[in-house]
């Protein structure tokens, strides 16, 4: 058991922090949110060149073969600058599925260019009825002579508006809630029969609703075994939840620091407002929750590489729930302690506020994760 950063990790953290300061800062995000794409392919390419996108990918596919913790540390730093580049969508979700299920050829052909920052993907998975249930899929993939025909609708697809290719989940067998029978396919974003609506998010990032109307794909589009994708989907969604905790951690840390600075700077009643004990204690509570979120985020990042699914799920759920409770406490009090200025669009604190709120909901909110936790096999057992 060891929680210190290795020399290499410290170097990466420092270089990402520098990058955020110089290139991927909040000012840059303000520009990005006004653009159609919402993020910058040049920055994406740089991230690829630095090796950040492939840090947790296998070496065989051109990755660095590092741990998920390495990636989480990068995301945490990027969160401080509200970087909107689609690491979670493209690397953790779509890339994760290729890593987990793809053949060597598929990894070479598809994963390698993406982690180099030359292209980006998305994972088109959730549907109107599925909420946070990873194996609730109604979209269908019907086998044809030389491939499959896909139909259905996918909602809130992260990076769905900008991805070159989509990893689409669809049923090759079974019914709505079955774990068996779910397959994933690589689909070109401009495939015939595929249409999308772009939604601007409250956090200034973009997602897409994707309709699949008899989209035909060749047999080689299938990633992994037919009908056997559920385990890998759960795996990438857990990792995405851990990644959301990491990115949110950067936001929360930044919000906490901004708030403490503001308390030291703002005067009312002839004193710095940070001299008022009620606000001091609130700040102390924020410190505690920020630190607990940090511990939870590290726990989740470590567990993201865990092979036992229940162990992984339990601690990642604990972390995501902490983001939804303690993280939300920090989020709302950062605004409250800034007072009026905090609800202006002009001030950065509100941008972080909205991003954290969105991350809280992605890949399962606190309610979902509490429910999942109490449903795990180990919950009922007498300790023994």
């Amino acid at each position: 058991m060891d929680f210190s950063l290795s020399k290499e990790q410290q170097m990466i953290v420092d270089s990402v922090a520098g990058f955020v300061k110089d290139e991927a800062n909040v000012e840059r995000f303000r520009e990005m949110r006004e653009t159609e794409q919402g993020w910058d392919p040049k920055i994406w390419a740089e991230m690829g060149e630095y090796g950040w996108l492939g840090i947790a990918a296998p070496e065989s596919a051109g990755g660095i073969g590092g741990s998920f913790v390495d990636l989480a540390l990068i995301l945490e730093q990027l969160g401080r600058g509200l970087s909107p580049e689609p690491i979670i969508a493209s690397v953790v979700l779509a890339g994760g599925l290729l890593e987990q299920l793809g053949s060597d050829e598929q990894q070479q052909e598809l994963l390698a260019p993406m982690i180099e920052g030359k292209t980006s993907y998305a994972f088109a998975h959730t549907e109107r009825q599925s909420r946070y249930n990873p194996t609730d899929v109604l979209s269908t993939a019907t086998k044809t002579e030389d491939g499959y025909t896909l139909s259905g609708e996918k909602t809130w697809v992260l990076n769905g508006h900008a991805a070159e290719k989509l990893v689409v989940s669809a049923r090759t067998s079974g019914s709505q809630l079955d774990r068996d029978g779910i397959s994933v396919f690589m689909v070109d974003a401009n495939a015939s029969g595929l249409s999308s609506k772009v939604v601007r998010g409250m956090d200034g990032q973009r997602t897409a609703f994707i309709s699949l109307d008899n989209v035909t794909v060749p047999a080689t589009a299938l990633i992994g075994e037919e009908g056997g994708a559920a385990g890998a989907i759960e795996w990438v969604l857990d990792r995405a939840a851990a990644a959301a905790c990491a990115e949110a951690q950067g936001c929360l840390q930044q919000m906490f620091e901004l708030t403490v600075s503001y308390l030291k700077e703002r005067e009312q009643f002839g004193s710095k407002i940070g001299s008022f004990q009620a606000l001091q204690h609130r700040a102390a509570d924020m410190f505690a929750e920020t630190e607990l979120c940090k511990s939870a985020m590290i726990l989740a990042a470590i567990r993201a590489d865990e092979t036992d699914a229940d162990t992984r799920a339990a601690d990642i759920s604990a972390a995501k729930a902490q983001l939804g409770t303690g993280g939300w406490f920090v989020d709302e009090n950062a605004i409250q302690l800034h007072g009026g200025i905090g609800i202006t669009d002009e001030h950065d604190i509100g941008l972080f506020f909205k991003r954290v709120r969105v991350l809280q909901g992605l890949f399962g909110d606190a309610d979902y994760h509490v429910d999942r936790f109490q449903g795990l096999e180990g919950f009922d057992q007498a300790r023994g």
Binding site: T126, R128, Q129, S130, R131, Y132, N133, D136, T155, W156, Q176, L177, K197, V198, V199, R200, G201, M202, D203, Q205, T207, F209, E267, Q268, F269, G270, I273, A278, L279, E332, I335, Q336, G339, G340, G342, I343, T344, D345, E346, G350, L351, F353, K354, R357, V358, G361, L362, D365, D367, V370, D371
Partner: protein, 396 residues
């Protein structure tokens, strides 16, 4: 002690319900079913409709155009408005400067202003906060220099809600730098549209709309006839307003609307093979908050019942502001959580992507972070309780 509705009360409820149903134009009803994202024009349209009926300012004294409703009737009226999702009328004229003028205004001021407030013909806004005077309002710096029959105003107000729509602004201005800070403040009424040297610059909030403005004053002239109360009496005026504002802001009507919205979204949101309203965890979250709001509503009723017509409730109404705004925020959070991933959508999302009743929700959710800040932040309310009710302020 009873909560029973008499036969008259029940008849009154029917009358109100029927009236609201018949009086509310279809285009407002359509917006109401979409979570009530009403525009300023919608609000004023509705104001004029209610005014024509004589129901715009139920709690004003009858001689100034109020109703003679009992507390029960007022409660029924507000319940029915919540139920029908009517627009909420702007509080600055009807709930704030109007009652103040009734109490402290000159006969000329009453005659000049009250009818137009009542009729919705003139729109008001509030010029209190300044960049360096928020919670510490008494530190305000907007100067009002004596120039014979008028004052000359220089300085800046901020957080002026809806100033871009207003005809008039009431401001707290500094007429003296001597003595206690509070004693040099004067309460003035300014024609925000037609006074040279007053400039309104709306700015965006995290809700994505320009809900507030900065208001700049540069050698702007305000006649002394537009002063309410004596010179240097502005702090007394501000305190008189405060009680009204607190109950207004903390009111549970909004919280109830958002609870209903959360239920509606949950009912319409498929969750696997059920609807989200069948989800055990979510049902209990709604129930908890709904029960809390019943309790707050009862506290509101008790406060209203104990204050007579036309008077502001005492400092104990601070608790209603605190718990009411917190419950309202929590209700918006619940509605947002009901949306699941959909909570990340924004009001301009394409049709068919977000739940239509929630089109305004994300914006409102963000904007309403202000509810625990404006009108005297909840922290300031706790200072008031601690000092004026619990007697802890004077301890050394």
């Amino acid at each position: 002690m009873d909560m029973n509705f008499s036969a008259e009360d029940l008849a009154f409820r029917v009358e109100v319900r029927d009236y609201l149903d018949s009086a509310m134009p279809d285009h407002l009803k359509a917006k109401a079913t979409q979570g009530g994202g009403f525009s300023h024009d919608d609000e004023m349209e509705w104001h004029k409709i209610l005014a024509a009926k004589g129901w715009a300012a139920p709690r004003w004294p009858v001689e100034h155009g109020g109703t003679a409703w009992s507390v029960t009737q007022s409660f029924i009226f507000s319940e029915e408005c919540t139920r029908a999702n009517t627009p909420t009328l702007s509080p600055f004229g009807l709930g704030m400067v109007g009652p103040l003028m009734i109490q402290y205004g000159t006969p000329e001021q009453k005659e000049r202003f009250l009818p137009k407030i009542l009729a919705g013909e003139e729109v008001w806004c509030q010029g209190y906060s300044e960049p360096n005077a928020g919670s510490d309002l008494a530190s305000l710096q907007l100067r009002a220099d004596d120039a014979g029959d008028h004052y000359i105003l220089n300085g800046q107000k901020t957080w002026t809600s809806a100033a871009q729509y207003a005809d008039w602004i009431f401001v707290l201005a500094r007429t003296s730098g001597e003595g206690k800070k509070q004693e040099g403040i004067t309460f003035l009424l300014a024609d925000i549209k037609n006074t040279d040297g007053i400039d309104v610059k709306p700015f965006y909030t995290i809700g994505g709309t320009p809900a507030f403005s900065d208001t700049f004053f540069q050698n702007a002239k305000v006649p002394k006839a537009n002063r309410v109360g004596p010179e240097g009496g502005g702090w007394t005026m501000a305190k008189a307003l405060l009680g009204h504002e607190r109950t207004g802001i903390g009111g549970v009507g909004n919280a109830k609307r958002f609870i209903e919205l959360a239920k509606q979204i949950a009912r319409d949101t498929p969750n696997g093979t059920d609807s989200l309203l069948d989800d055990a965890t979510f049902r209990r979250r709604i129930a908890k908050l709904e029960m809390r709001i019943r309790t707050i509503e009862m506290a509101n009723l008790r406060t209203l019942a104990s204050a007579s017509h036309g008077q502001a409730p005492g400092p104990e109404s601070s608790i209603l502001k605190i718990v009411g705004t917190e419950a309202t925020q929590e209700a918006t959070e619940l509605a947002m959580d009901a949306l699941g991933q959909g909570a990340q959508g924004w009001f301009d999302a394409p049709e068919g992507t977000i739940h239509e009743s929630s089109r305004q929700l994300q914006s409102t959710f963000n904007y309403l972070r202000a509810a625990t800040i404006y009108g005297g932040s909840n922290e300031i309310q706790k200072n008031i309780i601690s000092k004026h009710i619990l007697g802890l302020g004077a301890l050394g």
